[in-house]
Each structure stands twice: as C-alpha cells, then as structure tokens.
C-alpha cells in the first residue's frame, strides 16, 4: 500500500526537524551487508543488503566477436530485472522503463568510470574479445534500489575472475582461472538523493521514496595515479554519471551545487564501507 496522505505529511514535518521515522540522519545509509560468491557458476557474484532492500548481481564472461568500431576492446552490458518477487508493485513482462532506467544508470557508471580495463579484454584483435554481462536482480524492494544495484555491480566486478578458454578461444563454461577480471582504481559509487518536502535524504525506505518528489543520482569515482593505491582522495573525484528522475519537482542551481559537493563526500565514505565489506 502506498503511503497515506496523513503519514506523508507527518514524514515531511518530521524531516524538517531533522529526523526520520527510523531515527537516521538525512544522509545516513541503512546498514550495508555484502555477500560475495552467491553463485559458483558465475565469474563474479554478490548479494547486497541495504536494510531490508536486497539485490543480487552476477557477472558472466564470454568470448565474442568485437564491434567493428572497437576491435580491441571488450564488450559490456548491464541488464536489470525488477523481479515480481521483490515487490507487489512489480509485474512480469517486458522490461518497464523503471528497470531500463536503473540498468542505464549503472551501465554508465561502470562504462564511464572505466573500472573495467576494457583494453585488456581483447583476446585476438578484431576476432575475439571478452564480453562482460552484468545482471542485476531486485530480490526485496524496500527503497533505494539504484544505489543497492550499483553497489552490487561493483562488488561482483571486483570479485570476478576470468573463465578458462581453449585453443580455439572457446570458453570452457563453468571452469575458472585464478586471474582476476582486470580492473582499475576508478571504482564508481552511486549516491542517489531523494527530495522530500524541502529536504534531501539518502537511502530512502519505500515509504520515504513514495513521499519524495524528485531524485538525483551521482556516480562518483576516485581514480588514483598510483595504480595500486587504495586510498580514496576526494581531490581525484570524477563524476561519471548523473540522472535526475522521478516526480514533477525541479532543482535550483544552489541545490544542485550543494548536492554535487555532498555527493563526492558521501560517495567517498560509502566506497570505504563497500571496500571494507568486500575485504
């Protein structure tokens, strides 16, 4: 059941006092938990919990013929399924715009950050390259699927290994090498702000999401010059993807300026948490 008018009013009043129904601060995430390797048949996989929100993400690799315009680089695709299992609001059938938009936001953050070193995914120039398929499934929806999906995609990528191939460059399905999927230091982290009344919150529950009139997602990465560096330096921040969505509301330029700074700050701290969880 979507939020009642009276409850929405209360939620907004309460937010103005700086409080949320579950005692969190405006910009506080729910507890994050990541389990890696949920499917031993995937090159990489992860289960992500943000409070009660749950997503599962898998990375599958295959050797394919490259696109003509980029003969030396790998191929990437991100697909999302908002399973009807995850919410009474999701239905079977061809992908709805909600699910396409989610996949596209995650796709851009992965592609533009260059977390996957696509140049290293060439097997034979113009003949065979690796394709990286990232499948994201919503398992239980309690709000903020975008950030949960983005975290899941990054976790699955970071844990992925390369499959075995035979002499004819055919993949031995289900057999893996010890080599990691080549990644860079530019790990993208997506933070999505939701505007409720005059306030912006992070990581909303379904109830809060229902009460919101607008959302803005930022995918931020912190590429480091030193290749092996694990330090996150806000100086290096690069914004790789952005998306305003949801509702009829608009943003002022002051608001967007504040959000950009907040996004960098929050992405850095969220990324630290993600790395802790993965290690």
């Amino acid at each position: 059941m979507e939020i009642a008018n009276i409850t929405k009013k209360r939620l907004i009043e309460f937010l103005e006092k700086g409080k949320r129904f579950d005692n969190r601060g405006w910009l506080e995430y729910r507890p994050l938990k990541i389990n890696l390797g949920i499917s031993s048949n995937a090159e990489g996989s992860a289960q992500v919990f943000l409070g009660k929100t749950e997503v599962m993400v898998g990375v599958k690799l295959d050797a394919v013929v490259p696109y003509r315009d980029s003969e030396e680089s790998g191929v990437l695709a991100v697909v999302t399924e908002l399973l009807p299992m995850a919410s009474e609001r999701f239905e079977h059938g061809p992908p709805k715009i909600q699910s396409i938009e989610l996949a596209r936001i995650v796709d851009r953050s992965i592609r533009e950050s260059e977390i996957i070193d696509m140049k290293k995914l060439c097997i034979k120039k113009g003949e065979k390259v690796w394709s990286v398929m990232i499948d994201i499934y919503a398992i239980n929806d309690d709000g903020n699927l975008i950030d949960a999906a983005a975290i899941g995609a990054v976790a699955a990528i970071m844990s992925a290994v390369m499959p075995k191939i035979d002499k004819d460059d055919k993949v031995q399905y289900g057999e893996f090498t010890k080599d990691k999927l080549p990644i860079t230091s530019a790990i993208p982290t997506t933070v999505t702000f939701y505007k409720i009344g005059d306030k912006f919150v992070l990581d909303p529950t379904t109830e809060e999401q229902d009460a919101s009139e607008l959302r803005v997602s930022f995918a931020v990465s912190f590429p480091s010059k030193e290749k092996k560096s694990k330090k996150i330096d806000a100086e290096n921040a690069v914004i790789n993807a952005m998306q305003k969505g949801g509702g009829d509301a608009t943003l002022s330029s002051e608001e967007i300026n504040t959000l950009i700074d907040l996004a960098v700050e929050k992405a850095a701290s969220l990324q630290e948490k993600i790395r802790e969880e993965i290690e």
């Binding site: 949920i38 499917s39 048949n41 599962m56 299992m85 009474e88 398992i139 239980n140």
Partner: protein
C-alpha cells in the same frame, strides 16, 4: 560396469545437505529459501490478492499463478533473462504439483502469485523450487491440506540415486549417456504423487522402484520442512495468550 560409488561420496538414498531459511523476502506475504547442496532456490508468495486483468479471474476459486525461472548467472552458460520454453513448462508442472493440496475455493476471483528463482543451479532445481514454494505458501497462510515435498531420482548407470547432481546428470559409459532424471513430488500424509517427469531411458520395473525410493526421500525432506516452519517461532513473532 555400473555406477558403483557416487561422485560426492553420498549413499544412493541420501540427499545432499538440505538447508532451509524462512522469511527471506520480508516484503512478500510468505517466503523461503531451500537448497540441496549447491542447488539453491528462493520462493515468494504474494496474495491472495486482487486479480488483474479481470478476465483471468475464476469465479469459483483463486488462481495460482506460478513462475519458475533461473537467475542468468545461476548456470555455467549465461541464461538470457525472461521466460523460455523450459521455464514456462516447469512453472506449469510446479503449479500442478502444488494445486492438489491448496484450498483455492476459499478465495474466488483472487490470485495467489508464486515466484520461484534459482540462485545457483546444480541439477534438481525444480524440486528445490517446489520445496521452497510449499514452505512459502504455508508461511503466507494459504490454506492447504498437506505440505508438498519433491526430490529428483536418477537412474545413473543402472543405480537408483536420490537427489542427483549435474555431474551425475551427465554420466556416461563408453560414450553413451546412461543417466535418467525422474523428478517426483508427494503429498506425504496420504502418499499421493503430485509431480512426475522423466527424461531418459528406464525399464518399467526400475521405474517402479524409482518412485518408491523417491517417496521415501520425500518423507525425510518433509520432516526438514516441518521443522523449519516450527522453528520460525523463535525468529518471528507469534501471538500468545494474554492471560496466564
């Protein structure tokens, strides 16, 4: 030459390790995870709820809408998302395996949505799915006369094996495939069969033994399912009498 010792060292009438977790999808009215070793299924139930579109309503009873599918990365070669002929058929046989015990006449015009996803596949996925589904339906408070249990029985190199793995499914002798997969499900109280499928070659008299072996295994699985439901008391909330 026959299949003398199982690849994973199990007894021939032994299932893999069974793990059950209830309430894995908080948003659903009922949910459960069921695994046979590396085969892991989750099931969620929504409803009984209003049936859309209206022309699909049945004025005599609720409709059980069942969907079985595999996550794309649950198998070694990526499965394209969305329904296939295989998943449609399995959804249908799972529905038929469960409806005999459901008292659907209590909810005319309504729909009960049953969603099954395989997270990790190592054969016997439909059976793990049915076991998870039976638990999710009970958890959702759907009235039913029995709790269904399912297991796949294999005839591997002329040996009857319970709960076969992918490796056993691919068993060969001298280049000839000698593995037959026979998934069965039972309503255990009266030993009624609710699922029967076969894929391979098997002698009629062996088939009779296979079904008997399947029945025995289902009884054991049923005990594990009942225990999981009873143990739910500690984790979730039960009403208790107010007065002493």
């Amino acid at each position: 030459m026959t299949y003398e010792k199982r690849y994973d060292g199990r007894d021939f009438d032994e299932t893999r390790k069974v793990e059950i977790k209830m309430g894995v999808i908080p948003r659903a009215n009922g949910s459960a995870m069921f695994s046979f070793g590396n085969t892991k299924a989750i099931a969620a139930v929504y409803g009984p709820r209003l049936m859309h579109p209206q022309h699909l309503q049945n004025p005599e009873k609720a409709v059980l809408r069942c969907s079985y599918d595999m996550l794309s990365f649950s198998v070694t070669e990526r499965k394209k998302p969305g329904p296939s002929r295989r998943s449609s058929e399995i959804s249908h046989v799972i529905m038929n395996a469960l409806t005999p015990v459901l008292q659907l006449e209590n909810f005319p015009n309504a729909v009960i949505d049953l969603e099954i996803e395989i997270i990790q596949a190592d054969a016997s996925t439909r059976c793990a799915g049915i076991n998870a589904a039976a638990l999710a339906l009970a958890h959702a408070g759907i009235p039913m006369t029995d709790l269904i249990s399912a297991v796949s029985v294999g005839n591997i190199g002329n040996k009857i094996c319970i709960d076969i793995t992918k490796e056993e499914e691919d068993y060969e002798e001298d280049g000839e495939k000698l593995a037959t997969d026979i998934p069965v499900a039972f309503a255990p109280r009266k030993n009624r069969l609710t699922l029967l499928q076969l894929d391979g070659k098997v002698k009629p008299e062996v088939l009779k033994k296979v079904i008997e072996a399947g029945n025995k295994a289902c009884m054991k699985i049923n005990e594990a399912q009942k225990k999981a439901l009873r143990d739910l008391k500690m984790e979730t909330e039960l009403p208790e009498e107010e007065e002493k």
